[in-house]
C-alpha cells in the first residue's frame, strides 16, 4: 500500500500547534476548521491498511475499516462540539491540549500496529492529565497526578505485553489477540485500566469531576472509548469481559445513590454505560458487537451533553453539588431541556438514542440465554435511571428552591448542547442512519410494540420507586460527603502502609547507624590508646560478670584501678618498623584482592 495519505490524527495534532497564534473570532473559526479538515482527511482515505512511517525497522501503519471508522466519526463530531462549548475560554493551552488529545485518540483507533497504538496511547495519557490540570485547583492538581500514575502503570503493562508479543510472534500487527499467554494478559490489563473496570476504575471518578467544565467534555469521550475500541479489536468474545462488563454496570449504582457531586454522579454512570459495551464485546456475537459499537456512538454524544449541561450549571453557579442546587429551571430553562434530552437518551427512553443501542446488548445476552448476565444488566438499567439520571435534573432544576438565580448558559454552550441534543433525538428517531455505519450488517429492529412498552414500563415504574422513596423519606438524603472507593488504597492506604512498615525500619536504621558510626569508632579509638591494657580491662569486666561472689569485690577493685590508670604507659609491643611492615602486608592483601576482583 502507498503512503500518499495524510492521517486524520496528524491533522488535529498539527492543527493544534497554530492555535496560540490566533485571537478572538479568528481563533474560533480556525478551531472549527481543524476538525472539519480532519473529517475531510478521513473521508479521503479508502478503507485499507497503509504504511505511514517506520520506526526501528518496524512499519507504522494506519488502518481504516468498519470498526475504526465508527469511532473516528464520533470522535471528530464530539471534538467539533466540544470546541464550540469551549469558545469562551480565554487561554489557548486547554484547546491545544484538547486537540492533541483528540488527535491521539484518533491515532489510537486508526493504529494498524502495536507500536503506533502505544505511542498514541501514551500521548492520550499526557494530554488528558494536562486537561485535568487546566482547572487550576489544588484538587485538580492532585487528581491529575494520580491520573498520570495510574495510566503510566497501565501503559507499562501494555508496553511489557507488546514487547513480549512482538518478540514471540515477530510481528507488530495489531489485530485479534485473545487471552493466550502472559503477553495477552498484560495487554488486556493495560486496556481494562483505561476502560475503568472496577476495582481499577477510581482514576476516572477521582479525576473527571475535578477537570475543567470544558475539558471534561473531551475526557468523557476519548479515553474509555478508545479502550472499548481496542478491546473490540483484540479481545472480542472473551468471556472475562462479560463478567467485567456486568460488574461495571452494577457497581457504580451504589455510589450514584450516595454521591453529592453531580459531575461525580455522571462519572460513575459513565462506568455503568461502558459496562454495557464491554459486555457486548465479551459476548462477541454480531448483534453484541454491533450493539457495543452503536452504544459507543450514542453514549459519547449524550454523556458529553450531560457533562455540558451540568458544566453550564457549574460555570454559572460555581457549584455542582446537589446540596447547594435546586429550582434552577426558573432561570436556566434551555439548559434544563437539553439536560432532560440527555437523560432520556442515557436512560434509553424510546425515541432517544440510548434506546436503539443499549437494547442490542441486552437482546444479545438474551439470545445467548445467559440468564444471570441478562438479569443483572436489566437490574442495572432499572437502577441507574432513577438513582443517577433522574437525580441530576431533579436536584439541579427542581427539588427545593436554592435561592440561586443564575443566568442562562452562554450562547456557545447552548449551541454545543443543542447540536449534541439534536443528534441524540435524530438517532433515536432514525436509527437506520446509525445502523448503516456499523461494522457488521445490522439485523435488529428496536421499535417493536413489546420492546417499547416493556422499556417504558421498566423506566416509569423505576421512577415511581424513586418518587415513593423520596416522598416517604426513606431515600438516602444528599449529604456533603466523600464516599470511599478503591482510590482510598493509594490515597490513604498506601501512605499509611508505608509509614506502618517504614517507621520501625527508620528506627532500626537509626540504631544501626549509631552502632556503626558512633559506638564502634569510639571504642576503637579508646582501645587503640593502649591495646594490652584495654584488653585487660575488657577481660576483667567479662571475668567480673562470671566470677563468684567471694572473688567479685577483689576483681572489681582491680578493674577499677586499671580503668583509673588507663591508658597509662604504652607498652608498644611492636617496634615502629614491625607495625609499618604489618600495615604494608595489609595493603598488599588489599591490592591483590581488588586486582582479582577487577579482572
Amino acid at each position: 500500500m502507498t503512503s500518499s495519505i495524510f492521517p486524520p490524527a496528524l491533522v488535529l495534532i498539527a492543527g493544534a500547534v497554530a492555535v496560540p497564534f490566533f485571537r478572538g473570532m479568528v481563533r474560533r473559526a480556525y478551531l472549527l476548521l481543524v476538525p472539519v479538515l480532519a473529517f475531510a482527511a478521513l473521508l479521503s482515505i479508502p478503507g485499507g491498511t497503509y504504511v505511514t512511517a517506520s520506526l526501528l525497522g518496524h512499519a507504522l501503519t494506519l488502518r481504516i475499516d468498519g470498526l475504526s471508522l465508527v469511532f473516528g466519526y464520533v470522535f471528530i463530531i464530539i471534538t467539533f462540539i466540544g470546541l464550540i462549548y469551549a469558545f469562551h475560554v480565554k487561554g489557548s493551552e486547554e484547546q491545544v491540549a484538547a486537540l492533541v488529545y483528540a488527535g491521539a485518540a484518533l491515532g489510537a483507533v486508526f493504529a494498524g500496529d502495536l507500536i503506533t497504538l502505544f505511542i498514541f496511547w501514551e500521548l492520550m495519557t499526557l494530554t488528558a492529565a494536562y486537561i485535568i490540570w487546566s482547572q487550576r485547583t489544588k484538587a485538580s492538581r492532585g487528581a491529575g497526578l494520580r491520573y498520570i500514575m495510574v495510566h503510566i502503570f497501565g501503559g507499562m503493562s501494555l508496553l511489557a505485553g507488546i514487547i513480549l508479543r512482538v518478540c514471540a510472534t515477530g510481528s507488530t500487527e495489531f489485530g485479534y489477540i485473545g487471552l493466550d499467554g502472559l503477553d495477552s494478559y498484560l495487554i488486556l490489563l493495560g486496556f481494562i485500566i483505561n476502560a475503568a473496570v472496577p476495582p481499577l476504575h477510581a482514576w476516572l471518578t477521582d479525576a473527571y469531576p475535578e477537570a475543567s467544565v470544558t475539558g471534561v467534555v473531551f475526557l468523557s469521550a476519548f479515553t474509555t472509548k478508545t479502550a472499548v475500541y481496542v478491546l473490540a479489536r483484540a479481545f472480542p468474545g472473551t468471556e472475562l469481559l462479560v463478567a467485567a462488563g456486568v460488574i461495571m454496570t452494577v457497581y457504580p449504582i451504589f455510589y450514584v445513590v450516595l454521591e453529592n457531586d453531580l459531575r461525580r454522579v455522571l462519572s460513575y454512570s459513565l462506568i455503568n454505560q461502558v459496562g454495557f459495551m464491554l459486555t457486548g464485546i465479551g459476548l462477541g456475537t454480531v448483534l453484541a458487537m454491533n450493539g457495543a459499537t452503536a452504544h459507543v456512538f450514542c453514549h459519547i454524544l449524550y454523556k458529553a451533553l450531560l457533562f455540558m449541561a451540568v458544566g453550564a450549571v457549574l460555570y454559572r453557579t460555581g457549584t455542582c453539588k446537589a446540596t447547594e442546587l435546586g429550582g434552577l429551571y426558573k432561570t436556566m430553562p434551555v439548559t434544563m431541556v437539553f439536560c432532560i434530552i440527555g437523560i432520556a437518551s442515557i436512560a434509553a427512553f424510546p425515541l432517544f438514542s440510548g434506546f436503539v443501542s443499549k437494547s442490542m446488548v441486552l437482546t444479545a445476552a438474551g439470545n445467548e440465554h445467559l440468564a444471570v448476565v441478562w438479569f443483572l444488566l436489566l437490574l442495572a438499567s432499572a437502577g441507574v435511571f432513577p438513582h443517577a439520571e433522574i437525580k441530576i435534573p431533579y436536584f439541579i432544576f427542581f427539588a427545593r428552591d436554592s435561592g440561586k438565580r443564575p443566568e442562562e448558559a452562554p450562547p456557545n454552550m447552548l449551541v454545543a448542547m443543542g447540536m449534541a441534543a439534536f443528534l441524540c433525538v435524530f438517532i433515536g428517531i432514525y436509527p437506520a442512519a446509525l445502523y448503516s455505519i456499523m461494522p457488521y450488517p445490522v439485523d435488529y429492529v428496536p421499535y417493536t410494540a413489546d420492546h417499547v412498552i416493556s422499556q417504558l414500563a421498566l423506566l416509569c415504574f423505576a421512577s415511581l420507586a424513586f418518587v415513593v422513596l423520596v416522598r416517604s423519606g426513606y431515600y438516602p438524603p444528599v449529604q456533603r460527603s466523600v464516599n470511599l472507593d478503591t482510590d482510598w488504597l493509594y490515597r490513604k492506604g498506601l501512605p499509611a502502609g508505608i509509614s506502618f512498615v517504614g517507621a520501625p525500619l527508620a528506627r532500626l536504621n537509626e540504631r544501626a547507624g549509631k552502632a556503626l558510626f558512633e559506638f564502634l569508632p569510639d571504642f576503637l579509638v579508646w582501645f587503640g590508646k593502649n591495646p594490652p591494657a584495654a584488653l585487660k580491662i575488657v577481660t576483667g569486666t567479662l571475668f567480673l560478670k562470671f566470677s563468684g561472689p567471694e572473688k567479685r569485690a577483689r576483681v572489681a577493685e582491680r578493674v577499677e584501678n586499671e580503668k583509673a590508670l588507663y591508658p597509662g604507659d604504652r607498652l608498644l609491643p611492636w617496634s615502629i618498623g614491625a607495625a609499618v611492615s604489618f600495615v604494608l602486608v595489609i595493603l598488599l592483601v588489599y591490592l591483590v584482592a581488588n586486582y582479582r576482583s577487577g579482572l
Partner: protein
C-alpha cells in the same frame, strides 16, 4: 433581570402533572397485559414483569446503598 419561570410552583400545574404521571403508569400496565412478549426466558414473558422489576430493582438498590453509607461516608475534606 429577565423574568423567572414558575411553572412548577403553581399548585394547578403540579396537580395536572401528577394526574398525567399516574395516568401513564396505569396505561402502561394495561397495555402490558395485552401485548405478547418475545421472551428470552420464561419470566420475562409474564405480564407486568418489567414494571415489577423496575420498581423492585430500584428499591432494592436504594436499600443496599443506604446501608452501605455508614461504611463509605467520610467528611468532605477527608482526603485534604
Amino acid at each position: 433581570m429577565k423574568k423567572e419561570l414558575d411553572f412548577f410552583e403553581k399548585p394547578k400545574n403540579k396537580k395536572a402533572l401528577w394526574i398525567i404521571y399516574i395516568a401513564i403508569l396505569v396505561l402502561l400496565l394495561t397495555i402490558d397485559l395485552f401485548i405478547p412478549q418475545h421472551a428470552h426466558f420464561y419470566w420475562d414473558g409474564i405480564p407486568v414483569f418489567y414494571a415489577l422489576f423496575g420498581f423492585a430493582g430500584c428499591v432494592l438498590l436504594a436499600v443496599i446503598a443506604k446501608n452501605l453509607r455508614p461504611f463509605l461516608k467520610r467528611e468532605e475534606n477527608y482526603y485534604d
